[in-house]
């Protein structure tokens, strides 16, 4: 009975089959399988937005818990639009070392101009949309609990429209990085996505300052605990899940089933990060700090992001483990001077740098050859060449993004303002900017909420629902 609905493909092959027509069918099928995988990866990377949202919400105080939802939705939306309008063109629209030049308002003119892009291109476009949104999300964790909502909007436009696209063009769009040495190795973006986001965060925090009360009169940092470790953990687990699409999808296809290797390597990197962070924080404080262990997972994932296509499986837990050590040490060190409530500067910034450099150490001949980018790592070649190339890319990314972001934030600060007033900060952003607490019942007295309707209008019937009505003994 369903035959009419779901025609099996064989039934469609009406015309006579020739070797050529069959070869074409196989070609089309290959494209479709690649796109299928990229769409799976797109969905997974999209979900990382929920990961970032909950990581940040968990690390916020309860009075700033609801705004995280509005923030992630609006930021994602602005970035999606800006990427479509100009970002994608700058990043991947061909062109020279600096930026691309075609593909603005991608697809807009397709049916008008006849210049048509295939569906596979659209797949690449939407997959990359998710990447710019990840990079942007990284910027904001560091700024929570004191930044103005308007600042998100302004910076998101610049970041998704220009800053990230430039770096993406340099790294993946055929720009600058292809000309450093024999090419920069950054498989899924330890630098291009994560360091870029973290550097934006650094620029923000430099102009924004710490939360009120973060530093004592003596200048020593004080803990301002976030309100919800389970939600923080949900964020970490969702990010980990999404990373299988982030790294796995960066194969841009299923050729040679190579995405399986990438995913296995990614997982071992992440578990290395967990173990490294757990070991170090326990050694230092004798406590299994939940936040640090979660940060360790993120750091392991960030660190393995650049190398995941370039290194053998055995190198992954090592890279991740060191990433886990770095994030703990980094959080402790940075906390002394900069107020980064979620540890993004360490987890995405320092671990991103480490991951990019790690390619220069462990990039394996087998994989370098198959990808055709850069040269073998120090471990195999004994040469520091690739390590130098990687360091140059890190430096270029860091400086470019820092300068551009500082300019952008300085203009925002001078015009619409960057930071909420002391009273707003004290009251919390939920009630002030969004009109309602994230947990209304926690802050609004329940009696007021329940007080609607006078008691006199109610007929007590104690036998029925002995829950607000007591039962006489």
């Amino acid at each position: 009975m369903l035959a009419s609905l779901l025609l099996p493909a064989t039934a469609l092959a009406q015309e006579e089959t020739t070797l050529d027509s069959l070869s074409q069918r196989v070609g089309a099928l290959t494209d479709e399988l690649n796109t299928t995988w990229i769409m799976v990866a797109t969905a997974l990377v999209f979900f990382m937005q929920a990961g970032f949202a909950f990581l940040e919400i968990g690390f916020s105080r309860g009075k700033n818990a609801g705004m995280g939802i509005a923030k992630i939705l609006v930021n994602f939306s602005i970035a999606s639009i800006m990427w479509w309008v100009i970002g994608f063109a700058i990043a991947f629209g061909g062109g020279g070392w600096l930026a691309g030049e075609t593909g603005f308002l991608f697809q807009f003119g397709r049916d008008l101009s006849g210049e048509s892009a295939g569906s596979a291109d659209v797949g690449f476009f939407i997959f990359q949309t998710m990447f710019v949104c990840v990079s942007l999300a990284i910027v904001w964790g560091t700024t929570i609990e004191r930044i103005k909502f308007a600042a998100y909007i302004a910076f998101a436009i610049v970041f998704a429209g220009i800053i990230y696209p430039l770096i993406a063009h340099w790294g993946w769009g055929g720009g600058l990085f292809a000309e450093i040495g024999s090419g920069v190795q950054d498989f899924a973006g330890s630098s291009i996505v994560h360091l870029t986001g973290a550097t934006g965060a650094l620029a923000a925090v430099l102009l924004l300052g710490p939360r009120r009360g973060k530093y004592g009169p003596d200048g020593r940092p004080r803990a301002i605990p976030g309100h919800n470790m389970p939600l923080f953990g949900l964020g970490v687990l969702i990010l980990w899940l999404g990373w299988f699409g982030f790294n796995g999808g960066s194969t841009l296809g299923t050729a040679g089933s190579g995405m399986a290797e990438v995913i296995a390597v990614t997982n071992l990197g992440a578990v290395g990060g967990v173990l490294g962070a757990t070991a170090l924080i326990y050694a230092l404080t004798k406590k299994l700090d939940v936040g640090m262990i979660g940060n360790g997972a993120i750091a392991g994932l960030v660190a393995i992001t650049a190398p995941c296509g370039y290194v053998e499986m055995w190198a992954a837990p090592i890279i991740g483990f060191i990433g886990g050590l770095i994030v703990v040490a980094g959080v402790l060190a940075i906390d002394k001077k900069l107020d980064d409530p979620v540890g993004a500067l360490s987890a995405h910034g320092l671990a991103g740098i480490w991951g990019t450099l790690a390619c220069g150490i462990w990039a394996s001949p087998r994989l370098v050859e198959s990808l055709g980018v850069g040269t073998d790592g120090l471990w195999y070649s004994g040469s520091f060449e690739q390590l130098g190339v990687q360091a140059a890319a890190v430096a270029l990314t860091f400086i470019t993004v820092l300068v551009l972001s500082l300019i952008a934030f300085a203009i925002i600060k001078a015009t619409i303002g960057l930071r909420v007033s002391e009273e707003v900060e004290a009251a919390g952003l939920d009630i002030t900017e969004h009109g309602m607490y994230g947990y209304p019942e926690q802050f609004i007295p329940a009696p007021e909420l329940e007080g609607y309707g006078a008691l006199s209008t109610r007929t007590p019937s104690p036998g029925v629902a002995p829950t607000t009505q007591e039962v006489t003994a």
Partner: protein, 124 residues
């Protein structure tokens, strides 16, 4: 001066607060408490096992007024708090020896006086 301490049902609070405000007593403090009185516990169920809960949520209202105003406060609470069923609550009156306003440091009964403007603003 006296502190009127009333334990009432949640639902009773809003009408009490509104009328007290109209009468010129905007200043009260409330706490969420749990109380047990002349009632059986209620039984809750969790994964098949039972749990008897002997305490029910109540609102505790504290209101410090001068001696002459005590009856007004008590009457307002009694009026709105009554359903006639067990669990309506109790009202107690405690002596207060001194009172201070933090904002100004003033002390004495005059700091308890009703502010006509506050009452006016709401009834408007």
């Amino acid at each position: 001066m006296k502190m009127v301490v009333a334990y009432v049902r949640h639902e009773a609070f809003e009408p009490i607060r509104t009328e007290l405000l109209e009468l010129g007593f905007p200043s009260i403090s409330i706490t969420e408490v749990k109380g047990s009185g002349r009632q059986k516990g209620i039984t809750e169920r969790y994964r098949g096992a039972e749990l008897t809960n002997y305490l029910r949520p109540k609102v505790k209202i504290e209101c410090v007024v001068s001696d002459g105003d005590v009856q007004t406060i008590v009457d307002t609470v009694l009026k709105h708090g009554r359903t006639g069923a067990v669990g309506d609550g109790k009202v107690f009156v405690l002596p207060v020896e001194q009172a201070y306003r933090v904002r100004t440091g003033e002390s004495g009964e005059e700091i308890l006086q009703a502010h006509p403007d506050a009452a006016a603003a709401t009834s408007a």
